[in-house]
């Protein structure tokens, strides 16, 4: 890994907490019928966020919200252009048919991961709706994809990178090479 020349914390733990709470309220506002909503995180990164978001949303709706995790690596369109990505287990403890699936990812960038995720989701059934929640939208889309719920919009240069850390210490860092 290259050593970044400069790194700036753009979201600290408190800001991440506030962003997730706001996203949860927006999801609740958008989806009146809470029983049909499931969260699906995209690993690595999105699965942890999906679980966090699920906890907040359960508090708002006063019932538990199902959370799954969807590996998208086998559906990527750039598999022969890069080293094979790490594949993660997919855990879908519910039937997605007829559900409103909220895909959860940490960073929305070129949009190809989201496309792969929608493709991967198809293997499990036909959701009624698919919505997209991301903690950070950094721009540079290569596909006509837009997030429904965004924690923070961060305009970036192509050579910058966003590192999201959720766990012992929550933070989002912008790194300049």
């Amino acid at each position: 890994m290259n050593n970044p020349r400069e790194s700036i914390v753009i979201l600290d733990a408190a800001a991440i907490g506030r962003a997730l709470t706001r996203i949860a309220h927006e999801i609740a506002e958008r989806n009146e019928h809470s029983s049909g909503v499931v969260l699906v995180g995209i690993p690595a990164g999105g699965d942890v966020l999906a679980r966090r978001l699920g906890e907040v949303l359960s508090g708002i709706w006063k019932h538990s919200v199902p959370v799954g995790s969807l590996d998208v690596s086998m559906h990527r369109d750039d598999l022969d252009r890069r080293a094979a990505p790490q594949v993660y287990p997919t855990v879908m403890p519910f039937d997605v048919n007829g559900k409103t699936v909220v895909l959860v990812d940490d960073v929305l960038f070129i949009g190809r991961t989201t496309r792969a995720a929608m493709d991967a989701l198809n293997d499990f059934g036909r959701p009624r709706k698919i919505q997209l929640a991301v903690l950070v939208d950094r721009g540079h889309r290569e596909l006509p994809i837009k997030a429904d719920f965004v924690g923070k919009n961060v305009p970036t240069a192509a050579d910058e990178s966003i590192r999201v850390q959720i766990g012992e210490k929550d933070e989002v860092v912008l790194e300049r090479k």
Binding site: A83, T90, V107, D119
Partner: protein
């Protein structure tokens, strides 16, 4: 995660990290095999040639299904119905496949080193599906996967490989892979089929079957390969069964949690008692299931391009 290889030619040249990358990747593919839709588009648009110059049933079927589940286009080539019968050399066959822009060639050949040769003459990615008595790397990887899944680890385990070692590519690949992952491997069988020279590969050779089985965590049985033996290497099958076959009396003296493996095809009543082959300590059919996941993982990893690059 570490994978930069273009071909899978042998287990000998794989690092512990590379082996673990395959095993971790295979775990996710095994889960894919349990879904309602077992197919993923990872190899969509890629052409895979299964070049089985030596007959094979289970390995060929396993590779074919792995390729189909990855959405690849498949061409099957077998020794009986191909241009080899008409006198074409392996090189010319390979160049013809190259002219058709094959992306992968999975090769089974009776000559050791045939996959290595192929990797030098064509641009396709080569997977060794067994070359002579040399190597059978995907078998070793699926065996390692099965052991790790059942025992939780490989390092520190005692693995005894019992049977026809001399003619076994499975044995050679397993010795390389398992010792690299930190297992201690013991070989046992008739002295004519288990030469002491194998100790150079980092394992132990013994001719005392009771001693070989006593402490083993994994008992890996091999078939007597009549088709590879040019002369009789031991007096007879009956004597082999009596001296080295895994029967109830021998199994009773092993560790109660020792597990039994066999790459197949098994010869019931020769190297293994029929009842033992079907008992709950036998992993023989799990090996078949895992073989599919491991072969999908190998194809998936080899399909990757050069160097890691940032994606989001």
């Amino acid at each position: 995660m570490s994978w930069n290889k273009k071909h899978l030619l042998d287990a000998e040249s794989l690092s512990a990290e590379e082996i673990l990358t395959v095993l971790d990747t295979a775990r996710a593919f095994k889960a894919v095999g349990e879904r309602a839709i077992k197919k993923v588009p990872a190899l969509r648009g890629k052409t895979v040639v299964n070049l089985f110059v030596e007959p094979s049933t289970r390995t060929r079927i396993s590779f074919e299904l792995a390729e189909q589940r990855l959405s690849a286009d498949i061409i099957n080539f077998s020794a009986e119905a191909s241009s080899f019968k008409k006198g074409e050399t392996l090189k010319d066959t390979a160049l013809n496949l190259q002219a058709l822009n094959a992306d992968f060639i999975v090769i089974r050949h009776s000559a050791s080193g045939a996959p290595h040769f192929l990797s030098r003459v064509v641009g396709a990615r080569i997977i060794n599906a067994g070359d002579g008595a040399h190597e059978h790397p995907t078998q070793a990887l699926l065996d390692a996967f099965t052991i790790r899944e059942r025992k939780g680890k490989i390092e520190g385990l005692k693995v005894t490989i019992l049977g026809d070692i001399l003619y076994s590519r499975v044995a050679r690949s397993n010795i390389w892979a398992l010792t690299r992952l930190g297992a201690s491997v013991t070989l046992c069988g008739p002295s004519t089929l288990v030469p002491k020279t194998f100790e150079k590969m980092g394992c132990r050779v013994t001719y005392n079957v009771e001693e070989a089985l006593r402490d083993a965590d994994i008992i890996h049985l091999l078939r007597i390969q009549h088709e590879r033996q040019r002369k009789t290497m031991f007096p007879g099958i009956g004597e082999y069964t009596q001296l080295f076959g895994l029967n109830k009396a021998r199994l009773a003296k092993t560790k109660p949690d020792a597990l039994i493996m066999h790459p197949g095809p098994i010869n019931r009543g020769v190297e293994i008692d029929s009842e033992i082959a079907d008992c709950d300590r036998s992993l023989i059919l799990e090996q078949v299931t895992n073989g599919l996941a491991v072969r999908m993982a190998v194809l998936f990893l080899l399909n990757g391009g050069k160097g890691p690059q940032e994606v989001a």
